[in-house]
Symmetry: C2
Subunit: 384 residues, 2 copies
């Protein structure tokens, strides 16, 4: 046997992490009951008790997303993989995919779609704006796509894209509709079936108040039909829903080992949503966000997105002239253990991103944030 | 707003799962300290404390795998995704990939490689056997592959493929070497650099005693060079190491949100390995397995793999004539809360698969298993 190399045998103690209040674009703090479920002792991934739990997760997720879709599951990875799953399963090489790009995650959709050899067409909006139904109709007429992808809640801008009428438009053009609901599921009114959305993805660490690592995915019967008629195999084994669907479906055919404890956690997170009720949960997110908007405006700050299209889960706040944006986020983190996000891409240096999601959407967090912001802004020389 | 559909608003209580002892092919029970780390409150995925922890994880993983590779990280998904990451990054369409298929996971490699348009060539062994260096040399001479993939520890058969000399053989033919170490990392002697392995993958839920959901992946500088010279983008966004590597490297460029808590857990699991030391850990796995083999043999049972190539982490035990294999696994689970595995594929109905991995590799588990097996076998009519 070769000599063992001891160079990397690092001696470290048990993990100690700072007690952050996560009010950035995500992850948001998990609900304590979710963390408790996460730490439960495991069973096997084909154990009857686990298979039963998988059915509960699917059922609870159908409620949270307001869908009857059979394939409504958590993908065994983080949200970007669930995003990729929508494209990998539905796009065949050369097909036209139209992407409504109004921020960072629109760019990501373009990158992913090109890797699956879609004929990518894009319509763009300045970061912080949304598409009107007329604009979408004109683009559908021009590009005649097989798939349209829109971001319901753009985490980089805080804008909420209205979906009313979009599903009907897609049916009219025989096109499938993908929705990014990463920052809306569990916090913002969202109706997969009513809105005619064919494929959607989300994450666990925002509106669901669960750690990242298991990511909601759903597809309609129309989307399944397209999948079943593919010429070749899905060019991504791990995310191939013709295989994954059999593990989560009645067959329970082994595909990959599911992340057991992450599924414990997401079940608890979804259980808490069913217990609270969607109407109450959406109202809570709206009223907590309004409390914050009022407080920030009272400090002389401006919100980047008009109220009509502003997400309650994620707010972009304009950085006042003369203020060093990153100095503020650093001070918030280092002096008060509060994470808020910097701007991304076009909005880099121009906004802060403040999230109030799931368990963290509570008035006590708003008053804590406002008090800390006020002190930090004063320290960096900001005057109202 | 549309009416909320209450049909799927399932009312369930907090999760209660049976207290299983997981002695199947995996997952194996997590170490209690790992479960504790898993349930810690989160920080953000770009928090300085998290970035520091990521460095620790990489360093500890280099020790466990015995490698100096810069790219040595947990992929943000389960083991099959780490398997797919090796292929997705390294194969370009039309390149010859040679797969040593000696079990279920060889089949999976073939399926994945074909999705990435490799020119797949296969050499096969009956399930339970391994390849000799001469056989590998002859196949290299015949197929002249760009990439050779071998399974170090075949979870479906319990066989350990020797790697001595294989790396040199690959260098001689200017070929990259992939190793599946899913059931060997943390339990079986394994030397990535000494053996000249270019890409390897594993999982967290076996020898590391961590829940599934973050999966070790490593690639050598030779492999990185091939990646950097690709004609097109990696056809898998989530697993593209030219992007993922920048998040884990000095740049810390945002790619996807890492599964925070799974990384807490894997850090603790790897910390426990560094604390125990590889030599002691490998010796413990070997002696615990031998204790079980002796006990099973004393009951008149036969091991499927000759001792020379038998894994200490996963043992295939032949089902005696006249015994209903599944009746035994069901009784073990239902009457004693002990999970052991059924045979897969060619070995379906012919063997049981018993794992003694990581935290579960302890004499007390062996005596528990033997006592329960003896009773269950008697109940189904087995006589020595």
């Amino acid at each position: 046997m070769p000599q063992i190399n001891e160079a990397h045998r690092k001696s470290v103690g048990p993990l100690e992490m700072p007690p952050r209040l996560l009010l950035g674009p995500g992850p948001s703090n998990a609900h304590p009951a979710v963390l408790q479920a996460l730490g439960l002792r495991q069973v096997g991934h084909l154990d009857p008790s686990f298979l039963n739990m998988m059915s509960e997760v699917q059922e609870l997720l159908r409620y949270a997303w307001q869908t009857e879709n059979r394939i409504t599951i958590p993908v065994s990875a983080t949200g970007s993989a669930a995003m990729e799953a929508t494209i990998a399963n539905i796009i065949e090489p050369g097909e036209v995919m139209l992407i409504g790009n109004m921020g960072y995650f629109g760019n990501r959709l373009e990158d992913m779609a090109s890797r699956y050899q879609a004929d990518v067409r894009t319509i763009k909006k300045p970061w912080g704006e949304v598409f009107s139904l007329d604009e979408l109709k004109a683009a559908m007429e021009e590009h005649r796509p097989k798939v349209l992808a829109l971001v319901h809640a753009e985490t980089s801008t805080g804008a909420r894209q209205p979906f009313e009428g979009v599903g009907d438009l897609c049916k009219q053009y025989d096109c499938l509709l993908i929705a990014d609901t990463v920052t809306s599921l569990g916090g913002v009114p969202l109706f997969i079936d009513e809105w005619g959305i064919d494929l959607a993805y989300s994450c666990s660490q925002k509106g669901l108040s669960c750690p990242p690592g298991a990511s909601p995915f759903t597809m309609s019967d129309r989307a399944l039909e397209k999948l079943s008629k593919r010429e070749g195999k899905v060019p991504n084994w791990y995310l191939d829903m013709s295989l994954v669907g059999k593990y989560w479906g009645a067959e329970r055919t082994y595909h990959h080992t599911a992340p057991i404890n992450m599924n414990y956690a997401i079940r608890e997170a979804l259980r808490l949503i069913a217990q609270e009720g969607l109407e109450a949960r959406w109202a809570r997110h709206q009223s907590t966000a309004e409390l914050m908007w009022e407080g920030l405006e009272a400090m002389g700050l401006e919100m980047h997105v008009p109220k009509e299209f502003r997400l309650p889960t994620l707010t972009t706040v304009r950085v006042p002239a003369g203020v060093d944006a990153k100095a503020v986020t650093s001070k918030m983190l280092n002096d008060y253990n509060i994470e808020i996000g910097n701007g991304l891409g076009e909005l880099g240096g121009k906004v802060w991103r403040i999230g109030l999601m799931g368990f963290n959407s509570r008035p006590e967090n708003v008053v804590t944030l406002l008090a800390a912001m006020e002190r930090v802004l004063a320290e960096v020389g900001y005057k109202k």
